[in-house]
Structures are given as structure tokens and as C-alpha cells.
Symmetry: C2
Subunit: 198 residues, 2 copies
């Protein structure tokens, strides 16, 4: 029997619950609005009221999933130097998968690179990329608000930092002369200093 949404939660949360569950059951599937609404026990009209587009729904689901994996951080703790907080923000994304980096990349590879990804897989990848960009941008905005970072195009900075994190992550899966950790932390500090010295 299919799992049912928890009792006593709002329609919006029922929808998110249903979409997250379906995503867990069949990653890469292109969820239909109708199927998500049915699973949530709400009308498609109600779903479309809360989430006018499928992308809006996907983004919110992915954000919730990341909230579980990467909990709210200490970005606002100004007793910690800005560079330490920025490094921690980036490092959290890097280790978020938790698993063996080679396993993680095997999965990414199978899902998106080995063959042309399905429409559903593409949508999921793009939603998770947007969410990771947003998380880095949030860290940068926090530092900018408190004056630790010069005002600038934080969306662009976030995009570039994300690229860098991806480079570190694929390096973890590729052959290496030494353990990655010291080099990786050194690299994270170097890019944090680049951003903060702008």
C-alpha cells in the first residue's frame, strides 16, 4: 500500500510531502501534476494554487530535501570570522552527499551523463543546481549585509563558487597522489579569500 501524507498538515505541505516521496521512490521520473495531487489527496486546482509551475514545485521540494541534508548553519554568528563561515558554507555543500565520492559520481554519471537524461532527470538536476546556487548566494548575501563582503553580483559569485565546488568534488573521485583533504581545505580558503578581498 502506498504511504499516505501525514494527518493534520496543510495542503501545501501535503503536496510537498507527496512530491518528495514520489521523487524518493522514482528519482528522475517526470512527476505529473495530476499524480502528485492524487498522492497528496488534494485537487489539481489546489496544487496549482500553491505551485503555479512544475518548476516552482520542484524547487521547493529540492530545497526541503537539502534542508534535511544540510541543516541551517552558523552563517549569522558574527563571532566567527567571515572567511571561516564562508569556507564552512562551501565545505558543507561539498560533503553534503556524505557518501564515497566515487559512488556519488557514479550515480550522477549514470543519471545525467551516460545517456541523454530524461526530461524528469534534467528537471531534477536543474532544480538541485538552482538550490545549491541559492544556498551559496545566501551565504554571500549574509556577509554582504554585515559589511564583510563588498557589494557585488552575488548570483555570479555563487555560480563561480559552485563551479569550483564541482571541480573539487570530481577531483575526489579521480586518482590522486595524496589524501584530498588538506589540499581541498587549502583551496577552499584560497577561494574564500579571493571572494572576500574583492
Amino acid at each position: 500500500m502506498e504511504l499516505q501524507p501525514p494527518e493534520g498538515i496543510s495542503s501545501r505541505d501535503k503536496i510537498l510531502w507527496a512530491a518528495a516521496t514520489m521523487l524518493g521512490e522514482e528519482p528522475g521520473a517526470m512527476m505529473s501534476v495530476r499524480a502528485v495531487a492524487k498522492r497528496a489527496g488534494v485537487s489539481t486546482g489546489s496544487l496549482q494554487h500553491h505551485f503555479p509551475t512544475k518548476r516552482a514545485l520542484m524547487d521547493e521540494v529540492i530545497a526541503r530535501v537539502y534542508d534535511l541534508i544540510i541543516p541551517a548553519d552558523a552563517m549569522h554568528d558574527t563571532s566567527i570570522p567571515a572567511r571561516e563561515r564562508l569556507v564552512a558554507c562551501l565545505q558543507r555543500l561539498l560533503v553534503s552527499a556524505g557518501a564515497d565520492p566515487r559512488d556519488a559520481w557514479r550515480e550522477t554519471f549514470d543519471r545525467y551523463i551516460a545517456n541523454e537524461p530524461s526530461e524528469g532527470a534534467r528537471a531534477q538536476y536543474l532544480a538541485s543546481e538552482r538550490e545549491l546556487h541559492r544556498r551559496i548566494e545566501y551565504c554571500l548575501n549574509t556577509l554582504e549585509d554585515e559589511g564583510a563582503l563588498l557589494p557585488g553580483d552575488n548570483a555570479r559569485r555563487a555560480r563561480i563558487l559552485f563551479t569550483f565546488i564541482n571541480g573539487l568534488s570530481i577531483a575526489q573521485a579521480l586518482p590522486s597522489d595524496d589524501t584530498h583533504l588538506p589540499t581541498e581545505i587549502d583551496a577552499l580558503y584560497a577561494v574564500a579569500d579571493w571572494v572576500l578581498s574583492q
Copy 2:
């Protein structure tokens, strides 16, 4: 019948020719000094005179291969602004594979990530990583020598830029909202400016 080394070239070049040919015939194979010497038509003593370690041989072969793929550049042309030359230097590494990025990553994945790579494959990967680091470092040293870049740890800078290039390269193979090129060039200028403004 096996190809023979060209006539009239030095022992050193015969050895490099043999090693490069064998690498092309069987990528990822761990070449034995004896087999390379035999193929080159030189004694193992002669090989070891020119290349005291297998790593020295591998590095030189990989450097020659990259010389063919990525020809000598305009790094010394001071009529071109430093940032343009640095971007060109990095971009050259990014597009060096030439092929479809998804195909290129499929090959990298099969060789190094899908399974524990063989000793030969590891040695080849590490040699090509060292060569790419060296090429970036060479660009940075050139800019430092002419005063366009503040003196600093160029090996470290090169390592970080290489990580960034790897991130851009894997992004080319992953799903994307738009064409990569404008974002990529923007990102290359951003990191070039970061390095040059240090």
C-alpha cells in the same frame, strides 16, 4: 606488423616515440621499461639513462602529447592584456579535449571512476594532471615575470585554477538551462580577475 620508430632520430626521441605509440595503442596499460626499450630499439640501460624513473618518462610523453594538442601559445605577447592571455591560457585547457564533453567524461569515467583504476591508468592520469598544472603555472610565471601578477605561490594558484577548469568541464557534460559558452567565458574572466587582483 608493429610500427617502428622513425629513422634518424635520437635515442631519447625513439624512446618517447615508442612510449607515446604504446600509450595510444593501449591507454591505461602500465608500460614496462623493458617493453618500451624493445619497441624503441634501444637498451634498457639507454632508456634509464634518459629517463631514470618511469614517472619521468610518463611526464615527458604526456607533455609531448599535450604539445601536439595544445600548441605553444601567445603568452609572451605583451601587446595583449594580461587578463586576456590568462583567459586564453585557461580556455585552451578547457577545450583541449575537443570532443563532445559528454563523450570525454564518459571516457574519463570508464577509465578512472567506474572501477578502481589500474596502476597504469592511475599513473597516466596523474602525469596528465601534473602536465596541466605545469601549463597553468607556466602562464602564471610568465605574467609574474613581466609584473602583471603579484609574486605568489603559483603552484598553488595553478592547482586552484585547474580545479576550477575541471568544474567548468564537468558542467559541460551535466544538464544545463542554457548554452554553456557565455557563462563559461564570464566565469573564466571572473577567475582571471581574481588572480590578477591579488
